[in-house]
C-alpha cells in the first residue's frame, strides 16, 4: 500500500480542501498520513521519513505558498528523500496570476506536479495512479 503525507504548509489555515482530498485518497486505497493545517515544511519531511512515504502532497491556499515552499525539495534531499514524489496544489501565489507561469515556478522549485486553483480530487487521483505506474516503468513521472 502506497503511503501519502498530506498537510497545509506554513501559516495557512485552509483545511477544507486538504481534508476532503485526504478522505478521498484514503477511499482510493492509499494510506494517508494527515498533518492538517498550519504545518511547517520540516514536519512534512519528518512524517515522510518516519512513515517511509511514497509521496508528499502539499496544500497551500493562502497565497504565501511561494515563500513557504522555497527549498522544499532541498529539505527532502537532505533527509534522503531524493526521489519522493512531490505534489503541491491550491491557490499557490498571491493574486490571480497566469497559471502557466505559476506552474513553471513551482516545477522549478522541484515539485513534480502543481495543481491549479479548484482542482477536483478525481484529477489528483488520476495523476497519482499514472505517476506511480510510470515509476514502475522507471520514469520520474507520467507525461502531463
Amino acid at each position: 500500500m502506497k503511503v501519502l503525507v498530506t498537510g497545509v504548509i506554513g501559516s495557512d489555515t485552509h483545511i477544507v480542501g486538504n481534508r476532503i482530498l485526504s478522505m478521498a485518497l484514503e477511499k482510493a486505497g492509499y494510506k494517508v498520513v494527515t498533518l492538517g493545517a498550519l504545518t511547517p515544511a520540516g514536519e512534512f519531511i519528518k512524517a515522510a521519513v518516519e512513515t517511509n512515504a511514497d509521496a508528499i502532497m502539499v496544500s497551500s491556499l493562502y497565497g504565501q505558498g511561494e515563500l513557504d515552499c522555497r527549498g522544499f525539495r532541498d529539505l527532502c534531499v537532505e533527509a534522503g528523500l531524493d526521489d519522493i514524489l512531490l505534489y503541491v496544489g491550491g491557490n499557490l501565489v498571491v493574486g490571480k496570476q497566469p497559471w502557466s507561469e505559476v506552474e513553471e515556478r513551482f516545477l522549478a522549485m522541484g515539485f513534480d506536479r502543481a495543481a491549479p486553483p479548484g482542482t477536483r480530487i478525481e484529477a489528483v487521483i488520476e495523476w497519482l495512479a499514472r505517476d506511480f505506474a510510470a515509476r514502475e516503468r522507471g520514469l520520474r513521472r507520467a507525461e502531463a
Binding site: T13, I15, V16, G63, L67, G95, G118
Partner: protein, 497 residues
C-alpha cells in the same frame, strides 16, 4: 511556527471577569515589548488622535448611524505586503469602490506573530514589486505608517487580522487611528489555527476587548467585531449565532459597548433574513440575561464564504446576490468579495468593482423585507430554539461563567464548529445544503440541538439525498462544499433530459 503567544506572567485562572486595571497594565507592558514598534504606542496620545478624527472616520459612530438610518454599508477586504501598495489599495477602495468602511487585512505571518517572517516577506515584496504576502504587515510597519494610511482615506478603517493573537497588532492599529477591529476568541481560535487552545484564544481576545473598552472609558468609542462566519464553510445560522452570542458576552464582560456580529451568507434569502433578525435579538436577549446594558450589536453579513466559481460572470452574480441578501435581511453592513475570489487576492480594481456591484444591488433591493413570510417566521423561531438550547447548556457547564463554560463545552463537544482546523475542536458537526436551499445540520456530533429541530434538518436533507440519488451521509456535506463553485452547466444544465 504557530507559537502560542507568550504566557502572561500574571496568568490568573480563566474567567469571564473584567481584567483588573493593574493586571492589565502589566500585560500591556509585556506585550508592547515584544517587537520594536510596540514602543511607539502611547495610549493618551492615541485617545487624542481618535478624538480629533471627524465622526465619519470613526467606525463606532458610523455603525450606529447606519443602523439608525437603516443603511447597509459596504466593506471589502484588502491587504498588500508593502506600505505603498496598501495605501494605493485603500485609496482605490475609498474612491473607486465607494467603500463605506476601508479595511486593512494583515498577512498570515503577522496573524501568527511571526514578525521575522513577515519582515522577510515585506522586504522581498518591496524588492520584486509585487506582493509576496497575503496582507499588510501592520506590526512591522508600525504606528506612524498606520497613521499615514488613515490620513489617506476619508472613511473609517477596520483591521481584519484573522488571528488568535491580536494583542500587538491591535495596540498598534488603535494607536494609528483604526477605529474598528474584527476578531474574537471563540470564532477565530476554532477557525484560524491548529494548536492554540480555546482558552488561550479567549484570553488573547479578553486583552483586546479590555483595550477597546479602555478607549471607551476615555471617551473614544471603537467598534469591535466578531467573525461568526467561522470557517466560512456552510455554517448554519444557529452555529454562527451561538459563537456571536458567547463572544459578545465575553466582550461585554470586559466593558465593550459597540460590538458588531458577523455571519456568512447561507445564500438562502429567507434563511439569511431570519438569521440576521435572530442574531441581533439573541445577542440582546443574552446580554440582558447576563446584566450587560447598553451594548450595541449591529449585524453584518458576508458574501458567500465558501468555495467560489471560477467563471467571473458566475462570481459577479454571487457578488450581486450577496448585496441583495444583505439589503433584504436588514444587515447593517456587508463584507464583499470580488470576481477574482476563486483565484487569489483581487487587484484593487476588481475589489472596487465588487464593492460597486454590491452597492448597486443594495440600492435595488433596499425596500424589500421578508418578515411577513411564514417561512421567515418558522426559520427564525427554529434558529432561536437551537441557539438557546446550546447556550443555556454552555452557561450551565460554566456555572454561569461564559469563558469557563465555553472551554468545557468545546472539550465535551457541546460546542463544535464544522471544518475546524483546531485540534481542540472536535469538528464532528457536519452541515449540508438541503433540497430547498437551506443550510442544515447533517450530523450534530455531540451538540445538544433539540430533538425536534434535528428532525427538521434530517427530513430536509433526506429529501435532497432522495431527489439527487446520493446516499444520506457525509457525501451530502462534501457536495455542499463544492456546489456553489461548480460550473453553471452542472448547476443548471441547458439541456433537457
Amino acid at each position: 511556527m504557530n507559537a502560542p503567544s507568550l504566557p502572561d506572567a500574571t496568568r490568573l485562572p480563566l474567567s469571564e471577569a473584567r481584567i483588573a486595571d493593574d493586571v492589565f497594565r502589566g500585560m500591556r507592558q509585556d506585550n508592547l515589548a515584544r517587537w520594536p514598534s510596540g514602543a511607539d504606542v502611547d495610549f493618551d496620545e492615541a485617545v487624542d488622535l481618535h478624538k480629533r478624527l471627524p465622526l465619519h472616520k470613526q467606525l463606532g459612530w458610523v455603525m450606529r448611524k447606519a443602523v439608525a438610518e437603516r443603511r447597509c454599508l459596504t466593506q471589502p477586504r484588502g491587504g498588500f505586503g508593502t506600505f505603498e501598495m496598501q495605501r494605493a489599495l485603500m485609496v482605490a477602495l475609498d474612491n473607486e469602490g465607494l467603500a463605506d468602511i476601508v479595511p486593512t487585512t494583515t498577512d498570515s505571518y503577522t496573524r501568527n506573530e511571526q514578525w521575522q517572517l513577515a519582515q522577510k516577506g515585506l522586504e522581498e515584496s518591496e524588492t520584486v514589486g509585487r506582493s509576496m504576502l497575503n496582507g499588510y504587515p501592520m506590526v512591522n510597519y508600525g504606528v506612524a505608517r498606520a497613521r499615514e494610511l488613515i490620513e489617506a482615506i476619508d472613511k473609517p478603517a477596520i483591521m481584519l487580522t484573522g488571528t488568535t493573537m491580536p494583542r500587538l497588532t491591535s495596540e498598534i492599529a488603535f494607536a494609528g487611528g483604526y477605529s474598528g477591529y474584527l476578531g474574537s476568541g471563540i470564532a477565530y481560535t476554532t477557525s484560524y489555527i491548529k494548536e492554540l487552545s480555546i482558552e488561550d484564544g479567549i484570553r488573547n481576545y479578553q486583552y483586546l476587548d479590555r483595550l477597546a473598552a479602555m478607549y471607551h472609558e476615555h471617551g473614544v468609542e471603537l467598534h469591535r467585531r466578531q467573525p461568526g462566519f467561522l470557517t466560512g464553510t456552510n455554517i448554519p445560522p444557529s452555529i454562527a449565532i451561538i459563537t456571536c452570542v458567547l463572544d459578545c458576552l465575553l466582550a461585554a464582560a470586559q466593558g465593550v459597548k459597540n460590538y458588531g456580529v458577523e455571519m456568512g451568507e447561507t445564500l438562502h434569502m429567507v434563511q439569511d433574513a431570519a438569521a440576521v433578525a435572530a442574531c441581533g435579538e439573541l445577542c440582546q436577549e443574552y446580554l440582558a440575561k447576563k446584566g450587560h446594558h447598553g451594548v450595541f450589536t449591529p449585524v453584518t453579513l458576508l458574501h458567500w464564504m465558501s468555495a467560489w466559481p471560477q467563471d467571473e460572470a458566475q462570481a459577479a452574480a454571487l457578488i450581486s446576490y450577496g448585496g441583495t441578501l444583505a439589503a433584504i435581511s436588514g444587515a447593517a453592513s456587508v463584507t464583499t468579495k470580488s470576481t477574482h475570489e476563486a483565484f487569489g487576492i483581487p487587484t484593487p480594481q476588481a475589489n472596487a468593482e465588487g464593492l460597486r456591484m454590491t452597492r448597486m444591488a443594495i440600492y435595488l433591493a433596499r425596500h424589500i423585507r421578508l418578515d411577513g413570510l411564514a417561512e421567515f417566521k418558522r426559520e427564525k423561531e427554529l434558529i432561536g430554539r437551537e441557539v438557546r438550547a446550546i447556550i443555556d447548556r454552555v452557561l450551565e457547564m460554566g456555572d454561569g461563567d461564559v469563558a469557563v463554560g465555553t472551554v468545557r463545552a468545546f472539550e465535551a463537544g457541546v460546542l463544535d464548529i464544522p471544518w475546524s482546523p483546531n485540534r481542540h475542536c472536535r469538528s464532528r458537526v457536519l452541515p449540508a445544503r438541503d433540497f430547498d436551499g437551506y443550510l442544515r445540520v447533517l450530523d450534530p456530533g455531540l451538540m445538544p440541538f433539540p430533538r425536534d429541530a434535528m428532525a427538521i434538518h434530517e427530513e430536509a436533507l433526506r429529501k435532497r439525498a432522495e431527489r439527487e440519488k446520493v446516499p444520506f451521509g457525509p457525501d451530502l456535506a462534501v457536495n455542499s462544499v463544492y456546489e456553489i463553485s461548480e460550473p453553471l452547466g452542472k448547476l443548471l444544465p441547458d439541456q433537457w433530459e
